[in-house]
């Protein structure tokens, strides 16, 4: 089958003729015709809508013509009857009474209302109104009053005016499409799904096009961006959301998780526009720079392209720079997919038991320090930014396989927080939470050191004194994670409402 003709396209879209299958088979093979079908569908939809909105002039005319050829005598009789009727009415009414009275009233009203602009060309306006299309009439409120007063004469010659010059006078038509875009509408573009901190409750709130998400100190917001995916806004951020994936980052940081196959419009930042073709990306802007991190896919600023895992740094007046992505930079987001691809907090299976602790073996941020520790002393290092700066409590989930006391040292952001003695338990000891270890920061760099000198045999993992498999950070200092089930994900970042 050759490429589809316009007639085949319309026939396919409008009616179910016998060629339907053939058209579909061809469209599968020919992307050009497939596109044509979709485009034509849109155009025909518009045409259909226009027809529905307007009296079907052409069809009406055809119908009238048909009738006139059929029943000329009936038409003649009707005309005669109408003439007689009009004559009778005219004769029966001696002089203009009510009819005359009502117009003067209205003519009085008109001069009294000089407020509206000097609309003397009313008759013309009146003529345009009965037109099927609603072209210009601006917010003039009293069109009905204006319509009748001038003359009782029917303004017949005018309305017919557009009809006779048939060919090229598309005057009223183009106006209609023009008016459509001028209608100001604000579409719902996103819905808040999660919130930590902040005075006003936002969860469930619908964000309209043009709305700005502004997070305060200690506030974190997640939203579902309609048709595009999820967005996570960090504290002290201001991000404007618009239709068709248009995002403007004024300040702060947000993380985007874009649905497969969707693409955002270039993200506007103070340093410039960033084109994003990635499912996961983080973008942060400060007074001096804008950083865009991407795990897979790519981001671009002009000709500079950062392919994941990479970070693109934009500074005003300087050429964009490419840097390696910071592991765990997106760890503040409680999103498993983001965590898996960007590091930070991941599921327990990915942790390797090393030197008495399970650590993220691929986490470059630890620089494999755990692996190079001396055999009888282990260190676990984890790094993750937190949604906001403030007081936090850290809990560690531990398990001891050997029934002997062990001492661990907890260091956060380089500061020694505490040493904790863990008593051993007999038989199958359950997982338990140790804490709280309080600290004030907007990031977590946790180092846990096994202080007990328990010599290990090579490959003798079971003799490890302590296994650390999860860390929990919360801003609720009173929170005790007793009810966290055993099967809770390891190293999952759990954020709770900050304590009041």
């Amino acid at each position: 089958m050759e490429c589809l003709t316009p007639e085949q396209v319309v026939a396919y879209l409008r009616t179910g003729n016998g060629e339907g299958r053939a058209v579909e088979a061809h469209a599968r093979e020919c992307p050009g015709c497939a596109m044509e079908l979709l485009l034509a569908r849109e155009a025909l939809r518009e045409l259909g809508a226009a027809r529905a909105a307007r009296p079907a002039t052409s069809r009406k005319i055809l119908l009238l013509r048909k009738q006139s050829s059929w029943v000329p005598w009936t038409a003649a009789a009707a005309v005669l009857f109408a003439a007689i009727l009009i004559f009778a009415i005219t004769v029966s009414k001696p002089s203009g009474t009510t009819v005359v009275k009502s117009p003067p009233k209205r003519t009085e009203v008109e001069p009294k209302a000089p407020d509206p602009v000097p609309p003397k060309p009313e008759p013309k306006l009146v003529i345009e109104q009965p037109e099927p299309e609603p072209p210009k009439p601006k917010p003039e409120e009293p069109p009905k009053v204006v319509v009748l007063p001038p003359k009782p004469e029917p303004p017949k010659p005018e309305p017919r005016k557009p009809e006779p010059p048939a060919p090229p006078d598309p005057k009223p038509e183009p106006k209609k499409p023009d008016t459509t875009p001028t209608v100001v509408q604000r579409f719902a573009v996103a819905k808040v799904t999660h919130q930590v901190g902040g005075a006003a409750a936002l969860v469930g709130k619908t964000l309209l096009a043009g709305d700005t998400v502004a997070t305060g100190r200690g506030e974190y917001v997640a939203a579902n961006y309609d048709g595009f995916g999820s967005l996570y806004f960090r504290e002290n951020s201001r991000v404007q959301l618009d239709v068709e994936g248009a995002i403007t980052l004024h300040e702060g940081e947000f993380f985007g998780k874009v649905d497969s196959g969707r693409r955002l419009a270039p993200v506007k930042t103070p340093a410039g526009e960033v084109q994003i073709q990635a499912e996961l990306f983080g973008i942060q802007t400060t007074k001096t720079a804008t950083e865009v991190s991407v795990a897979e896919g790519q981001v671009a600023v002009g000709p500079t392209v950062a392919k994941g895992p990479q970070m693109l740094v934009l500074r005003p007046g300087k050429a964009p720079e490419l840097k390696p992505v910071e592991p765990g930079f997106a760890g503040w987001i409680p999103d498993k997919l983001a965590a898996k691809r960007f590091g930070g907090w991941i599921e327990g299976e990915a942790f390797a038991p090393l030197q008495g602790f399970r650590v993220m073996e691929w986490d470059e941020s630890s620089q494999r320090r755990a692996a190079v520790q001396v055999a009888d002393q282990g260190t676990a290092v984890l790094k993750a930014p937190l949604p906001f700066k403030g007081k936090h409590a850290l809990w560690l989930r531990v398990r001891q396989y050997v029934n002997k006391p062990v001492v661990i040292g907890v260091h956060i952001n380089g500061q020694h927080i505490a040493d904790r003695k863990l008593e051993g338990e007999e038989r199958k000891p359950p997982w338990r939470w140790e804490g709280p270890f309080q600290f004030t920061a907007d990031r977590l760099e946790l180092t846990v050191v096994a202080l007990s000198r328990t010599p290990l045999q090579q490959d003798e993992r079971r003799s490890f004194p302590v296994v650390l498999d999860a860390a929990l950070v919360t801003s609720d200092l009173k929170f005790v994670p007793e009810r966290v089930p055993e099967e809770a994900r390891a190293f999952e970042l759990i954020l709770e409402e900050p304590g009041k």
Binding site: V10, R14, G32, M35, L39, E46, L47, P167, P170, P181
Partner: protein, 183 residues
């Protein structure tokens, strides 16, 4: 309906003045709709451009002894037919006018059935729509240039800023992907 349309078109092709007047009167609105829908994709809404397409459609229909007009077989309604022709004409005029301009987004904002569209058709067209949306914008652009605009490999390479020899393999891949998505 179609018999009357066909008769009208035949009379027009035969050069009957009264028929042409009626044809113009009947098709004007549909042409304007098709032109408006296509031009909107290029963010063009001014009446002059729409009118330009409107005139050009008649020129196309009458060119070479009404060659295009004579292709009408009455299998669909006249308004729909001219609407699609207007859409094509508008697209080609705009692409000719500024071939280097950014390609417009061709997919509609939402996939809604056209009036009178059967359920079976809707299902297939929706699948087409979804398939195109699943492809990357670059792939869609490539397919459009190659198949809808029927451009040469060189033009495509220039338009997309690719090396000439990478067009063909990418095109094959994109086409295969679309096919798979439609399976």
């Amino acid at each position: 309906m179609s018999a009357e349309d066909l008769d009208l078109v035949r009379r027009c092709a035969a050069g009957r003045k009264d028929a042409w007047d009626e044809f113009v009167r009947r098709t004007r609105s549909a042409i304007l709709r098709g032109a408006t829908a296509a031009l909107r994709k290029f963010r063009v809404t001014d009446p002059e451009s729409i009118d330009n397409v409107h005139q050009q459609v008649y020129v196309e229909l009458l060119r070479e002894d009404s060659k295009v007009l004579r292709t009408f077989r009455g299998k669909c309604d006249l308004e729909g037919w001219v609407c699609v022709i207007a859409m094509r004409t508008a697209y080609h005029i705009m692409r000719k006018k500024s071939p280097d301009a950014a390609l417009p987004q061709f997919l509609p904002s939402e996939s809604t059935p056209a009036p009178g569209e059967g359920a079976e058709r809707t299902e297939f067209l929706d699948r087409l729509d979804v398939a195109f949306r699943k492809m990357s914008p670059e792939e869609v652009r490539l397919l459009r240039l190659a198949f809808y605009e029927k451009r040469s490999y060189k033009d495509i390479a220039d338009a997309l800023g690719w090396p000439l020899n990478s067009v063909s393999p990418k095109l094959i891949r994109a086409k295969d992907k679309l096919k798979k998505l439609l399976e």
